[in-house]
């Protein structure tokens, strides 16, 4: 089973997680820029964060043969802090980088006027930089938040086929399906979506435009729930080809629209010298 996790926050995970993910079949992933639990107060810390998403994390991932890409954005939660607003000025520079395959995570947290503005500005940046967009839906007031999200997407003029709307559940799946956007599901230990519920959704709605991710981060989460979902699919009678479509070909197709997805030579572990894997960068 080859797995592409289209949404996982490796910054918050250990190197052991990379090792376990590689063993479970994860060969590629996308790490969206989001918030880190602790609020930030200046654009400089975002620049360091973006540098890490484009430098250190791909290096760590490469040691286990995992290809790391990123999405870059000012997230909706921190969009509400005027001190973070200058992050928008940094984005044009970062949206040109090789490893950046979408603008994201953008969207709504509390549905404030500041979030409206920053969301719209960043959808326009996605169009200007010829990138897809990864859109987070709010955890509170999700159904109405998703409706409002889709209205902003429509208004922006971006092709819905270049937008993934994430963290969906039984309440929001049909809204997004009808919009033409891609559908993201975050499989979590307790909240959001479970492997068995995901299988039911796949039975009901098919595998087209469906993206399954672990969204693993600093919260209680599990980077191997993509694999668990693939296994649950097989147990429920889906074929290996169905699993490959959901866990590999769909995310490749979605992020491939950036023209920057690089999955060449995946068997090779990056950045090792003379066969040495530098697992901790020191002895």
């Amino acid at each position: 089973m080859r797995i592409f996790d289209p949404h996982i926050h490796m910054t918050s995970r250990t190197t052991d997680d990379y090792e376990r993910m590689a063993a479970a079949g994860v060969r590629a992933l996308v790490e969206p820029a989001f918030w880190l639990g602790q609020p930030r107060t200046s654009p400089d810390t975002f620049a360091d964060y973006f540098d890490s998403l484009l430098g250190w994390e791909p290096f760590r991932a490469g040691q286990f043969g995992i290809r790391h890409h990123a999405t870059i954005a000012l997230n909706p939660k921190e969009a509400n802090d005027p001190r973070c607003r200058p992050v928008l000025d940094l984005l044009p520079r970062y949206l040109e980088k090789d490893g950046v395959v979408a603008v994201g995570e953008i969207g709504y947290d509390s549905m404030t006027p500041a979030e409206d503005e920053v969301f719209a500005v960043q959808l326009a940046l996605a169009v200007a930089h010829d990138l897809p967009a990864l859109v987070h839906t709010p955890h509170r007031d999700k159904a109405r938040g998703t409706e409002r999200t889709l209205a902003v997407v429509t208004e922006s003029g971006i092709d819905p086929g270049r937008v993934a709307v994430d963290h969906l559940n039984e309440m929001t799946v049909e809204l997004v399906r009808d919009s033409g956007c891609w559908l993201g599901f975050s499989i979590y230990p307790d909240t959001k979506m479970s492997p068995d519920r995901m299988v039911e959704l796949l039975k009901r709605y098919g595998t087209e435009r469906m993206l399954v991710n672990s969204a693993a981060d600093w919260g209680r989460s599990d980077p191997l729930l993509t694999r668990a979902t693939g296994e649950a699919m097989l147990l429920a009678g889906f074929t290996a080809d169905d699993v490959d479509r959901v866990l590999w070909r769909n995310p490749v197709e979605f992020y491939g629209q950036s023209g920057r997805l690089d999955l060449s030579d995946l068997a090779d572990a990056d950045a090792t010298f003379a066969g040495n894997s530098i697992l901790r960068g020191g002895s």
């Binding site: 540098d51 791909p58 290096f59 520079r93 980088k97 023209g259 950045a271 010298f273 960068g281």
Partner: protein, 226 residues
Amino acid sequence: MAPDNQTAEATRTAAADRTAQADRTAEVDRLRAALHGVPDPQWLADALHRVAAEPATVTRFFAAAGRRCGRDPLPDAPGWTADEAARALLLAALPADHAGHAGTLYRYGDAAEKRAVLRALPLLDVGPAGVPLLHDALRTNDTRLVAAALGRYAHRYLDQPAWRQGVLKCVFMGVPLDVVDGLDDRADAELATMLAGLAAERAAAGRTMPDDATGLLRRLTATQEG
């Protein structure tokens, strides 16, 4: 210093500057020739032209160089990949303030861009202004950056304590010492002491040293004894 000596010194410095500039130009020409076979040579030619006329455009071209020129090693420029060489040429094509541009491109660069800036430093007339970038790269745990920070520019400008720590860090991280330019020129008794300490720690832990580090330590010890 007597006036005559000052004149002689100034003449010698000017001659050395001219030689250094000629070396840099020759290296740029060599990379340019080696890049003839890249997938989109016209893109690079246009980019170099634009950067010379409008320096602010370098940001966008620098980021896109890997996608447009590829990332394979260049057969005619051993040790260089196409993206690194293209980025070095973009930096060299800037009309002025090479140190300022190198600093900014490094600060906001992804790992490949940072590495290209480090590789480009010997091609730029920046004197020691690039040394803080070497210090930054040597603080990382990214082997690609550490290796790129110990090239010809480091040989010329990096202070000895930082250079020794860089060499030792290579041994620590398993980076082959052939990335270090002028290794035997700059290796000294203090580095030998540090290497011997690491060798003793490794031996205590039942671990071995890389062969190239053992070889260097042997050469240094032989020199001291001889």
